[in-house]
């Protein structure tokens, strides 16, 4: 469920980058404050453990497919939310850079979906509430299952909302939700089982590790502040994304606005943020609309033609031009390579 750059718009990617950068800085600060430095190497090595554990898989009976560990929840249980969030962010960064698993611009989205939800929501609100201070086998199983499943569902919903508000896919919101949530329910069950199994193994073999992880009482006291902060941030981000979406893509949101208010558009203030956004958008959207920005009367004349305009001549010129550009790029690349290899030899 790692999102790729190709599926998001700069507005969505940028806002979530900013949001997760803030969260990362906050977690780092928090960690610095109540850190026993013992955790520093432990965090790094546990991040590597997540990669290593993904290399081991098991066969799921009767399906022929195989499952492996995802990671967020187990890290939160072992390290506590702040450290786990940082580890998850670094794991996702490495995955984006080395495995092209999730894009760089989409990194913010991925950190939110796979880091924020399990570490800051599912872990403190579900796992800790169920397991409490005195873990038992049953509680660990229940808590890990519930937290892993719900955390993953939130993440999947995040993917859906982020992709949908970027306006690149044609999938409608409800179809997309129906597509993503059931798949991630299955994945969440597997993840929950693994998490529960590993945690109870550790609990039996080495119970000190678990109590150590959840002990820092200083952090407990404040544990709701970052959550509220995160939720507020999320609300602002979501609001921002939606307003952007409303003005760029007239098909989805405005249609629903029409349904609600009976008007095509909500009257938006021309000045302030809206004005600036609209201005930026007009600049940015200059080219995509290049073909369609005809004078008004012409547009009215060819109304029955499907939007955007269909004209054979123009398409041909476009394809010809594209081919020429590609050829040019190829020649430049080839020339440079020859030039540099000559320089070496």
């Amino acid at each position: 469920m790692h999102m790729a750059d190709a599926l998001i718009s700069p507005a969505v990617g940028g806002t979530l980058w900013a949001a997760t950068a803030g969260l990362t800085a906050y977690s780092a600060k928090k960690l610095k404050k109540d850190l026993d430095e013992h955790k520093v190497p432990m965090m790094g090595v546990l991040g590597a453990f997540i990669f290593a554990a993904q290399m081991i898989n098991f066969t799921i009976p009767a399906t022929g497919s195989s499952g492996h560990l995802g990671g967020g929840m187990i890290l939160a249980i072992l390290l506590g939310p702040y450290a786990a969030f940082l580890v998850m962010a670094s794991v996702l960064t490495i995955q984006a850079l080395f495995f092209a698993d999730g894009g760089l611009l989409a990194l913010g989205c991925n950190i939110l979906n796979l880091g924020f939800f399990p570490c800051f929501i599912a872990y403190p609100l579900i796992y800790q509430k169920i397991v409490g201070a005195r873990p038992t086998q049953g509680r660990i199983l229940l808590g890990a299952m519930a937290a892993a499943i719900l955390g993953l569902q939130m993440g999947a919903l995040g993917v859906v909302l982020e992709t949908w508000s970027s306006g690149i896919t044609e999938l409608s919101l409800s179809t997309f939700v129906l597509l993503m949530l059931p798949i991630h329910l299955a994945i969440g069950i597997v993840e929950g089982l693994i998490t529960a199994a590993v945690v109870s193994f550790v609990w039996k073999a080495h119970p000190a590790i678990l109590t150590q992880a959840s002990h820092p009482p200083a952090a407990r006291v404040h544990s709701h502040k970052p959550l509220l902060l995160g939720l507020a941030l999320f609300a602002v981000v979501a609001g921002g994304m939606l307003s952007w979406f409303a003005s760029t893509h007239p098909d989805g949101l405005e249609w629903s606005i029409k349904g609600v208010t009976g008007k095509e558009e909500l009257a938006g203030p021309k000045e302030g943020v809206h004005g600036v956004m609209a201005w930026i958008q007009e600049r940015l959207a200059f080219l995509p609309d290049y073909d369609f920005k005809k004078p008004e009367e012409e547009k009215a004349g060819q109304k029955e033609e499907s939007w955007p305009e269909v004209s054979p001549g123009k398409s041909l010129a476009g394809i010809l031009g594209a081919a020429m550009t590609l050829l040019l790029a190829g020649i430049i690349g080839f020339g440079l390579r020859r030039y540099y290899s000559h320089g070496k030899g």
């Binding site: 469920m1 790729a4 190709a6 700069p10 940028g14 990362t24 780092a28 600060k29 430095e37 520093v40 190497p41 432990m42 965090m43 790094g44 090595v45 546990l46 590597a48 453990f49 990669f51 290593a52 554990a53 290399m55 898989n57 098991f58 066969t59 940082l86 670094s90 960064t93 850079l97 080395f98 495995f99 092209a100 894009g103 760089l104 611009l105 306006g167 044609e170 999938l171 590993v198 550790v202 073999a205 080495h206 590790i209 290049y290 499907s306 955007p308 269909v310 054979p312 398409s315 041909l316 010129a317 476009g318 010809l320 031009g321 594209a322 430049i332 690349g333 020339g335 440079l336 390579r337």
Partner: protein, 270 residues
């Protein structure tokens, strides 16, 4: 399992690529990091049905691959490996958006296929930019750049640590997997129970290892932070690299070069 090992080998290979000495590798990592980000934003900001507008951007990976002496075939394989997610989300577009957008003689191409092609094109461009950043810079230098540009220190340290131990721990995991495979007949022992014990064992060993590493670090004077000692100098060519490419990206975003070229060519033919 061969697949897993080759995936690992792949990270190692990316790392070795970054040790080369080419004009690309000699640039300041900050310049490369920022340029990559500008490139990705420029590509992603293109319109949903834009194909011709995206094509000129290919010049960036092409030039960098050429200058940085990077293997195009290897990068292409990595991109392909990562493609499924974008592909599966994108493939719904042709199914749902069937209005004809482009007419080529008798063949009408629907808007869905156009936007699908656009998604895949973006995917290739953005992913190749990220891979080139790593292959042309190396992770340590990227981390250094991140740190210099104000990323939280503990986050940067975390990435460095993680990266260092990926190789060690994946080796250990592979030994476990191999041992299990050698003892398994007719798929016995490949199920969940053994799996969870294996992961648990690996975790315990990992924690022990973390403890040993910490002790080793303490005895070498570790006091809570890693010192990244390598001076970075922003020279004029780094600035030129960043500004030059950024200007080009903005221009390519403003003027649809294939359109201009195509129209010019069509005019000539007439």
């Amino acid at each position: 399992m061969g697949k897993i090992e080759s995936a690992l080998l792949n990270i190692g290979y990316l790392e070795t690529l970054s040790y080369q000495q080419t004009p690309l590798h000699r640039l300041d990592p900050r310049a490369k990091l920022l340029t990559t980000l500008v490139f990705i934003v420029a590509v992603v900001s293109c319109g949903k049905y834009d194909i011709t507008g995206l094509i000129p951007f290919i010049i960036y990976p092409v030039v960098l691959i050429a200058v940085g002496n990077l293997p195009p075939g290897y990068l292409a394989r990595k991109i392909l490996l990562a493609a499924p997610f974008a592909f599966f989300i994108g493939i719904f577009n042709p199914l749902l958006d069937r209005a004809v957008l482009v007419q080529l003689g008798p063949v009408g191409i629907s808007g869905g296929w156009v936007s699908f092609a656009s998604i895949m094109l973006r995917f290739v461009l953005t992913v190749s930019a990220a891979l080139i950043l790593i292959a042309g810079t190396g992770l340590n230098a990227v981390c250094l750049a991140l740190e210099k540009m104000g990323a939280p220190r503990s986050f940067v340290m975390q990435i460095l640590f993680l990266y260092r131990y990926i190789f060690v721990l994946t080796d250990e995991a592979l030994r476990l997997v191999r041992a299990r495979a050698l003892r398994s007949f007719q798929g016995r022992g490949m199920g969940f129970k053994v799996f969870s014990y294996m992961i648990g064992q690996l975790l315990l060993r990992t924690l022990d290892r973390a403890h040993r590493i910490h002790l080793a670090m303490l005895s070498r004077g570790f006091e809570g932070k890693i010192h990244l000692v390598r001076p970075l100098h922003l020279r004029s060519r780094d600035v030129a690299f960043f500004l030059g490419w950024s200007t080009l990206f903005v221009l390519m975003r403003w003027y649809n070069i294939p359109h201009l070229l195509g129209n010019a060519a069509a005019g000539l033919i007439r």
